[in-house]
Symmetry: C2
Subunit: 189 residues, 2 copies
């Protein structure tokens, strides 16, 4: 667990820095927005990342605290603080996922060399980190039998929907859409 905590700490301090870079990029875009839709769109993404930042400010010291733990028994679902750590990590997996998509959406609009180069580098790191967090949490959730069900799993059933290393074809998208059709919202409840 200590090795995983070290990786989590590194990933979440890295992404905290990345959020700040991204928010600094969005700030002048919001201020100079020429219409209300554009302003709301970037302000909305800005606020979501700000929410994530405020959660990371709590999560990172919690990871540090568990890095000081020597007794392996503290890494147990009977320890409420450990449960909270797992719950927060599961939440921030989605935070990272959503960040990758915010970067992808921004890449459609900020096509100048300076911004697209920064966005691409943040995207590359965040995507790798998201995959690593996802993999580590699958292991942790299965080890601690947390009954955790990933609401996102069906999006990746036939194709990792954030993967840019293979060029997805329209067929893949339609397959993924059809796939989604089979999923009913009610089935979650």
């Amino acid at each position: 667990m200590q090795e995983k905590l070290k990786i989590f700490y590194h990933i979440f301090t890295t992404t905290k820095d990345a959020i700040e870079k991204f928010m600094n990029m969005l700030d002048p875009v919001i201020q100079n927005a020429t219409d209300e839709h554009e302003r709301l769109y970037y302000h909305h993404i800005y606020e979501e990342e700000e929410q994530r930042l405020s959660r990371l400010v709590v999560l990172i010291p919690l990871i540090s605290k568990f890095q000081q733990v020597n007794d392996e028994n503290d890494f147990s679902p009977t320890n409420n603080e450990f449960n909270r750590l797992l719950q927060e990590l599961n939440l921030e997996k989605f935070g990272l996922h959503n960040f990758v998509e915010h970067l992808d959406l921004a890449l459609f609009r900020f096509t100048d060399a300076e911004r697209s180069s920064l966005l691409n580098s943040l995207r590359e790191v965040s995507y790798k980190d998201y995959q690593l967090v996802k993999q580590m949490l699958i292991e942790i959730n299965s080890r601690f039998d947390t009954n955790y069900v990933d609401p996102h799993a069906h999006h990746d059933e036939h194709h990792d929907h954030l993967d840019r290393s293979t060029t997805p074809t329209m067929d893949t998208h339609f397959a993924s859409s059809k796939q989604k059709k089979g999923f009913t919202v009610g089935s979650l409840i």
Copy 2:
């Protein structure tokens, strides 16, 4: 607290139903998207609401459970499950806030009578519910001295940024942007 729990229960079961209506509206838009940016944009919003739905599926029974509690001492920060309830409620306040903005963004695009009418009715209820959740949580967080700091508060300092009852002027937006300039990301850390 029992009266508040009853209101929370009502609000979160209502918004769960609203998410399903909104996701059903987005589904054909994603399937029929004519370009990759449009597809990603609506798919991203769909996934964020799906994440919120999966959290509500856990939160709503937790609220129900506390509605059965007769001992007022269980409503205490020394009770870990109560802490978890507060933490989840604080998170879902942002879920509701982000939902209002997702609806506002959708209103810019789905201007036909049927969809805009549904979106406006969902928006009206969700905005009122968001305000009520926000107000109730201010009271609860101050009563239980949870040291909770709202990362969003500065957005509303001069103007409730989701309020449509007064028409915001560009001046207000610029004031709000300038306001934001004074906020440094680092100050949160």
